[in-house]
């Protein structure tokens, strides 16, 4: 219906959530999580750590084990001490933490292939952006269901840089 719907949502400055799958469930899930995070912030007077958020999300998804949300998330952020945190789940909350990359959505094969070959440890922010952009663009080129542009957010300790990319518009 639209060609400008990004799938990555911001939870707080150091935590972003990507949701693939059924759009209605992605929206509902994001709204529920935003609500839970807001309550957490009021009680704890601080933002949630990405690792905590990941486990909360996993639990929230498994609660619906026999009537699941058809949305598979990727959680990415920086822990309070600055170490990057990255995890992904399937639609019923099986959590997997990764040191390198995490993928969700249509055409996982081409994305896995791209990321595996292009990822190296200890990349700088600019290098990382280039890598992610290339992986996304190439991964989406052969995917009929994904594309029409991309948005890349690079989270560093003092800022988040978000860039919109133009890909093959088909």
């Amino acid at each position: 219906m639209t060609c400008d719907t990004p799938k990555v949502y911001k939870i707080h400055d150091k935590l972003y959530l990507g949701l693939s799958g059924l759009q209605t469930d992605a929206t509902t899930l994001y709204q529920r999580l935003q609500f839970r995070h807001n309550l957490y912030k009021l009680r704890e007077e601080r933002d949630m750590k990405p690792s905590t958020f990941g486990h909360m999300l996993s639990n929230a998804l498994y609660e619906r084990r026999f009537g699941p949300y058809f949305a598979a998330p990727v959680v990415a952020g920086l822990e309070p001490d600055g170490t990057p945190f990255l995890c992904g789940m399937d639609t019923i909350g099986a959590i997997e933490t990764a040191k390198d990359f995490m993928i969700t959505g249509t055409s996982p094969e081409s994305l896995y292939g791209m990321c595996e070959s292009m990822w190296r440890p200890d990349m700088e922010a600019e290098e990382l952006f280039e890598t992610v952009a290339q992986c996304l663009m190439s991964g989406c080129d052969r995917d009929a269901l994904a594309g029409w542009g991309a948005v890349v957010h690079v989270i560093t300790k003092d800022k988040v840089v978000s860039r919109t990319l133009k890909t093959r518009m088909d």
């Binding site: 219906m1 639209t2 209605t24 509902t28």
Partner: protein
């Protein structure tokens, strides 16, 4: 078989619907107005299951009115859209409303806005869009013709081109249509085809 399309212009939203009311193979009436006003500056175009359509639209309209009465201020289009999505989403996993809808509205702050929702509670803010078989023929046509500073006359021409395409290519094309506009002066009928 309901045909609904919407086009967002510079400071107005134009919606078009067919005016036939049918029950399986029988056409009951040809002048049914399916674009229902929510309040002075918002309309719903709801397509889908017979009972669900009217029931759901009346439910939403009543609740929007109640909010306005209780809080002394009317809801804006974005709020109505998100409220409707919430109701659809809550009902989805128990007894879903089987209706697809367009919400067109005009507000002071946001200007004109057009929202598309489907029975799964997917919500999208769109410039042009539609529901039903008719939309298959008009979506790409509108993509080509739309630009951000559309005037009412240009939008009417777009609508008429869309209707002509549907009449030409859709086997079960409805014969009559009504085109309405929502802008700062409220809701008015532009023409009937």
């Amino acid at each position: 078989m309901d045909f609904f399309v919407g086009i967002k212009g510079k400071d107005f939203v134009m919606v078009c619907s067919d005016t036939s009311a049918a029950h399986s193979i029988i056409s009951i009436k040809q002048d049914e107005d399916k674009i229902v006003p929510i309040d002075d500056h918002k309309v719903f175009c709801i397509a889908g299951e017979a009972g669900d359509r009217v029931n759901f639209s009346e439910y939403i309209i009543a609740n929007v009115k109640l909010y306005a009465l209780r809080n002394g201020t009317p809801l804006n289009t974005k709020s109505v859209a998100n409220y409707t999505r919430g109701e659809l989403a809550t009902a989805l996993r128990s007894s879903p409303y089987h209706c697809n809808l367009l919400l067109a509205g005009w507000d002071e702050q946001a200007g004109a806005s057009l929202y598309w929702m489907d029975y799964l509670a997917t919500l999208n803010k769109i410039n042009t869009g539609g529901t039903g078989y008719g939309s298959y023929f008009t979506l790409s046509l509108f993509d080509k013709m739309w630009h951000p500073n559309l005037t009412v006359d240009e939008a009417t021409a777009m609508m008429e081109a869309g209707i002509a395409e549907v009449k030409k290519r859709l086997v079960v094309a409805p014969p009559h249509y009504i085109i309405k506009v929502v802008d700062k002066d409220g809701i008015r009928v532009v023409k009937t085809v």
